[in-house]
Symmetry: C2
Subunit: 217 residues, 2 copies
């Protein structure tokens, strides 16, 4: 494949399973708390020796970091067609295949959230690679809705607040809500509420306002 490979002598790196290693790291992060994801497990589940993992990534954090980077990005402008309404746009984000769709993506976010608490560089990476692109999407969708006339022009958006509820609901489990439906069901319900409220003007009291934003005066 790659004819520009380095001309070093000796056996070359076998990169064929690197992607599997990264994916498995994410899988484990979605399943267990960060502290219980061990490199021995990753090695065993991917058929690589632990020492081989350390030849690529110097520390556990660097492996997780690389795994996060390998996730790709949420859908960009071009891949996010205008569905004609704010509700349809938000549902399209939810159902985008990024990270395996809404349920797996949500579980993964839960794991990353916990991992970010254990390592500041990792937290920074999660912010730039996951949070900010995600927030940018919502900002764009709200601009569209304003352009469309669905939302008032004077809207002060509360993007991070909105973004917080859509991608991740780690406490669904705490509330036993998983038995009442999938995570996707939950997100759809939120979207239904949020959009209807925004369009009809949720801001009952000044300063409060709904998740999407508030309108001054």
């Amino acid at each position: 494949m790659n004819h520009t490979a380095d001309p070093r002598p000796g056996r070359p790196y076998d990169r064929s399973r690197d992607a599997l290693v990264l994916a498995t790291t994410l899988d484990l992060l979605a399943e267990h708390p960060y502290g219980r994801v061990t490199l021995d497990d990753v090695a065993a589940r991917t058929g690589r020796a632990k020492t081989t993992l350390y030849r690529r990534w110097a520390t556990k954090d660097e492996l997780v970091l690389a795994a996060v980077r390998s996730m790709g990005r949420p859908p960009e402008d071009g891949e996010l067609p205008d569905r004609g309404s704010l509700r349809a746009d938000l549902l399209a984000v939810i159902d985008s295949p990024w990270l395996g769709g809404p349920d797996r993506r949500s579980a993964l976010f839960t794991g990353l959230s916990a991992a970010a608490r254990s390592s500041e560089p990792l937290a920074a990476l999660v912010r730039t690679e996951v949070t900010e692109p995600y927030v940018a999407i919502y900002r764009r969708l709200l601009e569209r809705a304003v352009d469309r006339g669905e939302l008032p022009a004077g809207l002060t958006p509360r993007i991070p607040t909105l973004a917080a509820v859509i991608p991740a609901m780690s406490d669904l489990q705490l509330a036993g809500a998983t038995r009442a439906g999938t995570r996707r069901d939950f997100f759809v319900a939120v979207v239904d509420d949020v959009v209807l409220a925004a369009i009809r003007g949720a801001a009952a009291s000044p300063g409060a306002g709904g998740l999407i934003g508030s309108v001054e005066g």
Copy 2:
């Protein structure tokens, strides 16, 4: 104080700081992931010897268990006056002093959610001591709203789904939303959206419906 104390000879247990130990355990759980809350820390922060802690609670899990039990319960029917509207009722739940109010309570739920993933008995306890009473409150509030005529009588409630979003938002941090306001601000925004949508009929598509519930036919 207690004249019915056991008549055993020897130095009696000094219970004076037991409550402090339990409270400190919860504080640490709100601050760090479960795996990084150590009994050495609890001992140091409470001025007790680690061995003394083990004379009361046989394992770390039992300590956490006792701490959860010591939290008390969310406000019961009698302590939850009818505020006249669903919105006011929900805000009253949010602002109840249980567990130190909305922000601390939310942080604590985040910690408990993580802890519950590490221990099945602990998960069961969190369900019965935290989740179920909390869910019962929402059920009661929705019944009131139906009685009041605010919500339609044929409502199929989605209580666990609603309960999931109100008490805990561990991923606010992931989305950087904490900088945009307190956790309480977030909950209030959710309530504003959810209530407005429920009252005006959010269920745009059958089967979907908002967080509060859907109406058949």
